[in-house]
Assembly symmetry: C2
DNA sequence: TGATATATATCGACGTTCGTAGTATCGTCG
DNA sequence: CGACGATACTACGAACGTCGATATATATCA
């Protein structure tokens, strides 16, 4: 799973949201690092819906503008959980190696 | 950065390696989850070399077979460090949300 | 009146990965 | 002695997810 998709799920883990709301939430959740493009978002939403990780949760019209809401399904939550565990583990493994490397480099340089 | 690329760098953080060695190391480092395809590996190696994250570290002929060695550069190590920090943070954020969600779901169900 | 924020839709282009096939050597098992 | 699996690299088309641009429309503020 790529980062944009990951943040779509993470955003919806917080509760029911509409497209634009997901974009803004992903931005704040990632400290401004992940700015979802609209093309990416709706493509991801369609895909995730087809996979059953997300479901449409009603359309609303707020001040003349259409809002399409979405929410996370249980499989979606499970998928996000698995993905974040995997990333956490990968990160730990890489960081361990980098620590060993740093120790080696220091030893050689010293 | 995608997972296969990440593991190529992580593998080389351990020291100088040749293509096939990277594939085997990535596999064990990821507990068998990441099986690099040869096409992916050499494409990644070419790309990472062009970006200066990896350098060729000599060719050798071992029992009639060519081995192309590679090693991580300092920018490569820095890039891997940045990427793993980012992933660790993303994972933490997602897990926090999932915990809150679980608490909500439990409360509603209970 | 024009810029900015809100809100969704679509489409071609691009980069990374996948899948497969090809070439070749070495060791092992039958 | 021949088949097979492991080792080792090269090459290429297909698939997938993301990007960037374009389009449409309303509300608000200067």
């Amino acid at each position: 799973m790529r980062e944009p998709t990951f943040f779509v799920l993470a955003s919806l883990a917080d509760g029911r949201k509409h497209g634009y709301g997901i974009i803004k939430d992903a931005e704040s959740l990632s400290d401004g690092r992940v700015i979802l493009k609209v093309g990416t978002l709706y493509a991801a939403l369609d895909r995730l819906q087809a996979e059953g990780l997300v479901v449409a949760a009603g359309d609303e019209i707020v001040s003349g503008r259409l809002r399409r809401y979405f929410e996370l399904t249980e499989p979606g939550a499970a998928s996000l959980a698995a993905e974040s565990e995997r990333q956490a583990l990968n990160a730990r493994r890489a960081q361990d190696r980098l620590k060993q490397r740093a120790a080696r480099v220091t030893a050689v340089t010293a």
